[in-house]
């Protein structure tokens, strides 16, 4: 088990910059998520940690050892591929024993080890089946088996649930997390599904366009987004941005959004220009008395809650309100925002403005 430290990692494919100067630390035993939209560089980062790609520059420390230029076989990590990458011409047993046989482990030891792993994963009964006929879940388990059988220092997982259908994914995610909790191995996990990342991860790195946008615990990232991208990417429906032009003094706890004064966490950074007033849907309250007016465009029933789409002077926003509260399409209502949760953004750069709320999270 090991700690992984990434320092100024960079990867370039020809003219294309896949990963730009990334740095973060994965603590021993952490379930670590690399989250971002497709093409953001998360998979490349993972592959560099595994040794499937060599970085253009930067360092990777595995247990304090610099390994960035070593081939994968010298790194002692396991990798679970998106498409599972099972050897299609071998049966389950041979798939799982392959890494052991490759290392020249004696036959009896291999047998014992495979049996043990099969027991952990509950796949003893399919050991002699060809992998071709297995269900998605079983394939997933075999792939995991092949990864854990070697007892590597760390696991790399590249969207391992991406190939499963939605219903089964949820179940498998729980199983995976449970397995991790049991083994406590350092795991780096790539996904583009924010819900999956929030659900499973101890820590999350959000990447976009080859850059690390934010690095932190799920709740931190949700509550205190560092950029508009992160705010938008995390959460469903995502954070609302009321666009406005205004001025914010340092230490102010109020801002004027389209002539309505709204409370915000105390500012730590003066700013003037195009801003966005970021508020999560569940932090919006419909109140006839409120000053901030909006027209109800649509409502979507979701059981105990409903999503209301509203048209405001700052653009269309969504609010999540209890389903018993009545909101009729076409009506004009007033909105209250929960001040302590609001983040203001510089619309030009997308950066969150420092405030009482997020000052512990934002660096520099």
């Amino acid at each position: 088990m090991a700690q992984i430290v990434i320092k100024n990692l960079k990867k370039q494919f020809g003219d294309f910059m896949a990963v730009r100067e990334s740095s973060f630390t994965i603590e021993d035993g952490e379930f670590f998520m690399l989250l971002g939209p497709s093409g953001c560089g998360k998979t490349t980062t993972l592959r560099m940690i595994a040794g499937l790609e060599l970085p253009t520059s930067g360092e990777i420390y595995l247990d304090g050892e610099e390994i960035s230029q070593r081939p994968p076989s010298e790194r002692d990590i396991a990798f679970v591929f998106q498409m599972f990458a099972l050897y299609p011409h071998m049966n389950v047993r041979r798939n799982i024993s392959y890494p052991l046989v490759s290392q020249g482990m004696p036959k009896t030891a291999v047998q014992a080890k495979v049996a043990e792993v099969a027991g952990i994963l509950g796949i003893e009964d399919i050991l002699d089946r060809p992998v071709g006929g297995l269900s998605g879940g079983d394939r997933q388990r075999v792939a995991l088996g092949r990864a854990i059988v070697r007892e590597p220092k760390a696991f790399m997982m590249d969207e391992p649930l991406g190939a499963l259908d939605a219903e089964f994914r949820e179940h498998m995610a729980e199983e995976l997390r449970a397995l991790h909790d049991r083994m406590g191995a350092t795991t780096v996990y790539v996904t583009h599904d924010q819900l999956e990342a929030m659900q499973m991860g101890d820590k999350i790195v959000v990447m976009n366009n080859a850059v690390v946008e934010q690095f932190g615990t799920p709740q931190e990232i949700y509550d205190k987004p560092a950029t508009m991208f992160v705010a938008d990417f995390i959460g469903s429906p995502s954070m609302n941005f009321l666009k406005f032009h205004g001025k914010l003094a340092g230490g102010a706890s109020e801002v004027s959004v389209h002539d309505v004064r709204c409370a915000v966490p105390t500012s730590r950074e003066p700013f003037e220009g195009d801003m966005a007033f970021g508020v999560r849907p569940e932090h919006i309250e419909l109140s006839d008395a409120a000053d901030f007016r909006a027209e109800v465009l649509a409502t979507e029933y979701l059981g105990t809650t409903q999503i209301v789409t509203l048209r405001t002077a700052g653009g269309d926003i969504k609010a999540r309100i209890p389903s018993h509260q009545v909101a009729r399409t076409g009506e004009t209502v007033g909105l209250n925002f929960k001040a302590s949760t609001v983040t203001l953004f510089d619309r030009q750069s997308g950066r969150a403005l420092k405030s009482e709320l997020n000052e512990g999270v934002l660096h520099g």
């Binding site: 790609e53 253009t56 081939p71």
Partner: protein, 320 residues
């Protein structure tokens, strides 16, 4: 520091692989280039030793290119007396060439005719096999046909039959039906051989067209047949085209049936080319010229077809 991926071969490996492959490609090409070259030699140069391989040089290894081979390929000539030759000056550049051997051109050779036969039979059978093949492939792809697998296997196995084994009864049948040595007979025969490839190949192309398209058309108010030709056919167009070229190449290259079932009327070029006779023995430059002309279209098609090559030769089983 260079970029590196596990699966990306190193520059040195690539260089090594490239060299070997190019070397093999060059070796492969030597016979073809040699034949093309021979077509432009005089008969004497063609059989000289050591071989002449430089164009237009005076050295021992050089030869003066001439169209003699092509003239001989396309004409029949006869030896004439000196008196006659003196009395009749050469009429054309081609005539001029054959005068060297005291000969005159008396008419065209059969090559043009045979070549034309190849074209007629090739295109005729190609059209028919692609036409019937498309229909059958569509049916096999979209409808539940009882014993479809057996039918498909049967269709494929017909192409595996040794042509000579099939030729015996075909010969008898054609004799009785008066189809021997006719274009129609050969077209039907080649169609029957080609249709297996056409059905398999087109089925794989049509299988690749999602049924939703036709279903959408059915719901939009079209009949099944209209859906077939308005929606499926246009999308299968590339498949149909490459199938057609494969069929054409087969009919073009076929030898066994041609030599056994045709004598004159409908004989194609492959059985004819080896029999080109010059003065004395085989006229190698003329044969080489015929070979060159005959192979050229196939080479062009091969280059056009390179993307679909695999599909064609594995009956559509493997996509590239």
């Amino acid at each position: 520091m260079s970029s590196f991926s596990v699966n990306e071969p190193s520059v040195r490996t690539k260089w090594f692989a490239g060299t070997l492959v190019i070397l093999y490609a060059i070796i492969t090409m030597i016979p073809l280039v040699w034949i093309a070259m021979t077509g432009f030699k005089s008969p004497a140069d063609a059989i000289s030793y050591p071989p002449k391989y430089i164009i237009g040089s005076d050295s021992d290894a050089g030869f003066q290119p001439t169209l003699e081979g092509y003239v001989n390929l396309f004409t029949t000539r006869t030896r004439q007396t000196q008196d006659y030759l003196e009395a009749n000056p050469p009429e054309s550049w081609a005539d001029e060439i054959v005068r060297k051997y005291d000969m005159v051109i008396v008419g065209p050779s059969k090559f043009g005719e045979r070549f034309l036969n190849s074209v007629i039979i090739g295109f005729g059978s190609t059209f028919l096999s692609v036409f019937l093949g498309t229909l059958a492939a569509y049916a096999f792809s979209r409808f539940k046909i009882p014993l479809a697998d057996d039918l498909l296997f049967f269709i494929l196995s017909t192409r595996m039959m040794p042509p000579i084994a099939v030729a015996i009864p075909i010969f008898l049948m054609f004799r009785n039906l008066g189809l021997s040595d006719t274009h129609l007979g050969m077209i039907l025969l080649y169609t029957a051989v080609n249709i297996s490839l056409a059905v398999w190949l087109l089925k794989s192309f049509i299988d690749g067209i999602p049924t939703e398209y036709e279903e959408a058309a059915l719901i939009d108010g079209y009949t099944r047949f209209q859906a077939f030709y308005k929606v499926v056919l246009p999308q299968a167009a590339t498949g149909i085209a490459s199938t057609a070229i494969f069929c054409l190449i087969f009919a073009w290259n076929e030898y066994a049936f041609a030599v056994l079932l045709t004598t004159a009327n409908a004989q194609t070029a492959p059985p004819f080319i080896p029999t080109i006779i010059g003065i004395g023995g085989l006229d190698w430059p003329a044969i080489a010229a015929g070979v060159t002309l005959f192979l050229l279209p196939v080479m062009v098609f091969t280059i056009l077809l390179r993307k679909h090559l695999l599909r064609g030769i594995t009956f559509g089983a493997v996509r590239k």
